[in-house]
Structures are given as C-alpha cells and as structure tokens.
Subunit: 378 residues, 2 copies
C-alpha cells in the first residue's frame, strides 16, 4: 500500500499548484552526470509554464535529459515575474509577446487554444517549431497530429536546424491514451469500429479543477455546501458528462475529438468511432473502456502478446487476483496501462475485444507526448 | 446548489450505517393518515434488515404506504437484539432461523446469496413468497426475474393469499438501471446489440464499503495511508475494475449478470450484450454508458419521446446548459434518469443510439424494485 501513499503525496504537490523543482535525477545512481544543458542543443520556450501541463513539461524535460542550450519560461502577464528553479538554475517567468520567439528553436505550447491561435503562427514565422498541446490546429490539413509510438511518419521532414518553423499538434489526452492501446491491435487486424466510454480525471480541466475537487471533498466530508466555481456542480463523490460544449449532433467536443483525431492519426477516414466522455472524481489519470470490432479475427491471446510488446504500454491483466489498471497506479507514470483484455461475447468469433486502458492525463496525455515529439525533431 | 447539500446530508446518514427511522410521511400535507398497518394486509419479514438494502426496504415500505399487518425484522445472530423503530413502533431484530417464516406471507431477502440459498427454499416450503435481492436464484429456470416496469408478466399467477410459496428474483442493480432505459426503446425497435460501461457506486458492496470510501477519503486528504479492508486497494480518488470474481472468459460476474439477465428479462436469447463494470468513488448511485444497436431504424427524437413517456424514468437531456444525469441527482430518488440521447455516429443511418443512465443503486437498483414486485403480489 506504500506505493499508493507515495503517489498520493506526489499529486498533492501538484494539486496545490506549487511549482515543482525538478533537480538532477539519479535513475542510474547518484553519480550520473546531467547532460541536458548543452551548447549545441536547441533553444526552448515553454508557453504556459505555470499551468499544470507547463509544470509537467519541465518535469519531463528533466526526467528525460532533454538537451537544450537555453530555456525561456513564458506565461501570461499575470504570472510574469514569478521565479522558477529548474535544473539548478533560476528563471523568471516572462510575459508571452510576439517577440518571445526570437531565436527559439522549439516552443512547447500549453496555454489554451486562443493563445495557440494567436501566438503559434507568429512563432512559426520566426522559424520556431511549435509543439502545441491545444486543440487549435489538430484538425488543420497539413498540421501533423502525432503520437510518436503511433504515427511518427506524419512529421517526416520537420527537423530543428534548418531555420524553418512548423506546427505540430499534440492529440487530445483521451485520444492518445486510447490509441496507445488500440493502435498495436489495429496494425495487426484492422479496427473497423470502436465504442469508447471514458472516466476522465480533474487534471484535464487544469490545476484549478484539481484544487476544486480537493476543496469540495473536504467540504462535503464536513457537511458543508461545496464550492462550485469550475464546473458549477458537485464533483466530489459524483461524476458528470464532460464539461466541453455539446455540438448539434449531441456529442460533446471531447467525444468528437476521439472520433476525428482517431481518423486523422490512423489516416483512415472510414474507421467508425463513438465515445461517451465522463468526468470522474480522480485527480490526474484517465481511464477508458474500449470495445473494438476487427475486420479480421484477432484472438485475445494474440492481442495480449501484441500489447505486451507494444512501446509505451504495460499490460496489467491478472484475472486470478483481480488486478487490472487503475488511474492511481499510472499517475506520474510514463506508460499507459492496459488490461481486461477479453474476447467480446457480443461479437461473432474473434471479431471483437474489450479492453480497459489507464494513462496519466498530464504526462502521456499531454506533456510527455509533446516532449517525445520534440525529441524526434533533434 | 442547496439540493446537492441536502442529498449529501441524506447519504451521510446511511453512510455511517445508522438505522434510519422512517416515520409517517407527509407527501400530501401534515394531516395525511398513514394506511400501511392494516389487519387484512399481508405479514412481512425483512431478512438482512440491518444492511444497507435492508434499511432501504423499511424506508421504501414507509414511503409507499405498503400495507402490512405485521413485520418481522430478521438478521444474523450477530445483529439479533438490536432495536429498530419503524412507523411509530419498536421492533427487536430477531435471529434468522428455519422457523422465522411461519405465518409470513412475503419475505424480502437481502442478506447475500448463501443466506438466500439456505433459507429461501425453507421459506417457500412454509408458504412464503420470497422476493430475493441476491443472485442465488436469478438464472434458475422457473424463477421469475422481474423489473415491474419491464416484464411484470413473468410473475403472472403468483399472489398472496393462496397459501403457496414462491421465489421471485430481483435483478442485479446494474441490469435494472440499464434496462429501465433500454427496454422502452427495445419494445419499439428491437435491440440486437448493447455495449455497456458502468460507473458503479460503493453501495453495491454494502454499507461497509461506503464507510471505507469515506474513511479513505479523509485519510488521503490528510496524507495518511488509506485503510484498505474491503477492496484491498485505494478507492478514494481512484476507480477499479469491479471486485466480483473474474470468470474463465475474462468477464467478471457483474458483467455476465448484465449479459445473462438481459436475455432472461427480455426473453430473448439472441440479444448480444457486452459490459465493462467499473467501481467509481461515488456513494450510492450507479451510472452507465450504453451503446445500442437496433434491428430497425430509431431516430433520436422518437427515442427521446419514448423515454419521456416511459414509467419510472426521467429524461435529463439539456444540451445547451450541459445538464445531464448525475449519480448525485438520482441519489435517494425512485426514478432512473436518462440523457445524452444521440444518434451513434459510428452506426449507419438511425440504427444506433448512445445514452447515459443513472439510478440509485440501493433504491431502484435493489429495495424499491423488490417492493414494487411485492406490491404486485397483493
């Protein structure tokens, strides 16, 4: 049980919105030399550095020894002047302006769609390669929408060092987590239909939503009326349809992202996807129940083998001890977990599978995926 | 927001396992005369009266003015001797024995499958009609499995007063809540396949699980290691695959109940159902994401009309204000709520619909449904 408590403490430090101070990591023992600050490496900018994903960008950059010669911390005017300590150096958060991108090779954006729409093209004009975590450009023709384990070829030809700016979009968190597990199966036996129900964490709505979930939980336990500033409803001990706008077809935007982004990432306009997206009172990792229909048979043992050998994926599928993926277990982890792998009894033969997937929304669902994209630019 | 706080307070009184003391209700004003204690009415027994569902049996009996001439409060030896005040009278909890059913017309059982298997047949031999909330007899040929709004005809001929005992099974909570919404549609345009993902409350695992969820939540908020007596894992701010045993086909028992009970209740051995059952940190109401495939087209406007006119169902489907069913809203309510009614974009024409259903697990998922069955016996 100790592991749970550690993870609990981890997310609490995020939950309260404290700036994390990633220092040199010691994965290989205390004598490991940190390699990330290098003169010939690219110059970086992090846009939205004070947000939940922005903070995770820094954490992942440090964890992965991402090489850089400089890093600029950018945020709104309101956050400008805040101090951030990162890899033994102190930085001041600067206000994002049109001039912020002069001399920047790679900019990691996570400051919302309107900021991306305004400043993304400016950065590209200055020769910066923008990896954008917002939905602003995901469905724009010509903008690669990339999960590095799934469709790295979509960004072929985009490299740091030729002075050319470019936009690359990070898919939505629920799409990334779903396709990390569905794609290896799809590559083996084409998926023709997918029915997804999500169990989405507070973090997808930002650090303020995580704080509100904790505040509300305190209040409800004390018998007080819960504070409902973010979602206008009780979130503690409750769940609700995803808070994104509902479109004329009755799907909300989050659901249609799963439908449309899957088609673009798989480069398959015929794949049929439906989704129901639900917000549950979990802090920072999403879960998804995914029902798959295959063009050709795929039995569950073969599927399990495929998933066990897939990059970025861990199989947790212990039926005897009822041990399957949970959001808490994958919190702060890079890997997406998949389990409950079984033949769908409602489909003929081996044409269907049910699986259950969990992934950290802030990490693989956002920051890690973006930085994996950036690594491919080097 | 006041309504949420009231509901919150309601479930807290259950949460702590206190015996509720339903008094005369005043739905029609303070002068209403309580009609339930009547000389010519049946004699009742409640088996498992100190449990979460047992307590709800009493609450629903009182709410619905269920007529009775006597009521026997039965539980295990451990609980015998406890005092219960019900409708202005005091009762002592008696130990359940083979002799408990002498002279009892109707017994409401909710004490687990093994108690039902042991004492159900004994009660029937004594001429008692048993309405059993356990899974013990649900799939036994000849035992009606009944949702009164769905298949009342299954219990035709079973009546109080002819001295004949009988067994009637209450379906599983997740089956009841799903079929309350799916059946009216199925009656209009046959459902040929259903893909269900559940979001199940603590209450399904009993009052102790509800207490543990609350205790764990306190502990986690205080940074303490959570107490994991019931589920052997952290439940607070987490979710996990349903705790029932996993069968050789990879489905857990809860999921196969949805598959098999649907076929029996609909009297349709061909309906194809798959389910993924997940426990979420919610107290007493289940939610279910249900994807339906129809034999013949059924458009969403027609579906909404059908659901609006269905008994025991309330439609909450306000796209403009993003207002859809939530478990908290249906907690302590009789009606099952349905919303997110929309044409499934992954199916051709109008052959598919997605819906989202919420229902109180203890009430319509267990106690209310059983007492509605008992009402049909009168």
């Amino acid at each position: 049980m100790a592991a749970f408590t550690n993870q609990q403490l981890h997310y609490r430090s995020d939950l309260f919105g404290r700036l994390r101070i990633p220092g040199p990591k010691s994965r290989n023992g205390p004598t490991r030399v940190r390699m990330s600050l290098q003169e010939n490496a690219p110059s970086l900018a992090v846009v939205g550095v004070t947000g939940a994903v922005g903070q995770e960008f820094l954490s992942v950059l440090a964890d992965r020894d991402f090489p850089y010669r400089s890093i600029k911390m950018l945020a709104s005017k309101r956050s400008a002047g805040q101090r951030i300590s990162f890899e033994d150096r102190n930085y001041e958060v600067e206000e994002l302006t049109a001039d912020s991108f002069d001399g920047i090779d790679i900019a990691l954006f996570s400051a919302g769609g309107s900021i991306s729409k305004q400043f993304g093209p400016i950065a590209v004009d200055r020769g910066t390669i923008v990896v954008d975590n917002s939905s602003a450009f995901r469905m724009v023709d010509g903008v690669p929408l990339v999960i590095p384990e799934v469709n790295p070829e979509a960004m072929d030809g985009i490299k740091v060092g030729n002075g050319k700016g470019a936009l690359i979009a990070n898919p939505n968190c629920s799409t990334i987590i779903c396709l990390m597990a569905a794609t290896p199966l799809h590559r083996h036996s084409k998926v023709i239909r997918m029915v997804v129900s999500t169990y989405q964490a507070a973090s997808g709505a930002g650090a303020a939503a995580m704080r509100e979930l904790e505040l509300q939980t305190h209040e409800v336990l004390e018998g007080k009326q819960p504070t409902c500033d973010i979602f206008q409803r009780q979130y503690a001990f409750n769940l609700f349809s995803h808070n994104s706008s509902v479109l004329p077809n009755g799907y909300n935007e989050e659901e249609m992202k799963l439908v449309k982004e899957t088609r673009k990432i798989w480069n398959d306009s015929n794949v049929r996807v439906t989704a129901t997206c639900i917000r549950v009172p979990v802090m920072r990792a999403h879960a998804e129940s995914v029902n798959l229909q295959f063009e050709k048979p795929l039995d569950e043992d073969k599927a399990r083998d495929i998933l066990k050998n897939a990059p970025g994926l861990v199989v947790i599928d212990d039926r005897a001890s009822n041990n399957f993926p949970t959001p808490l277990e994958v919190s702060k982890k890079d890997d997406v977990a998949v389990g409950r792998i079984r033949r769908d009894v409602s489909q003929e033969g081996n044409h269907g599978l049910d699986i259950f997937v969990c992934g950290d929304q802030i990490r693989k669902g956002a920051a890690l995926n973006a930085i994996q994209i950036a690594e491919m630019l080097l």
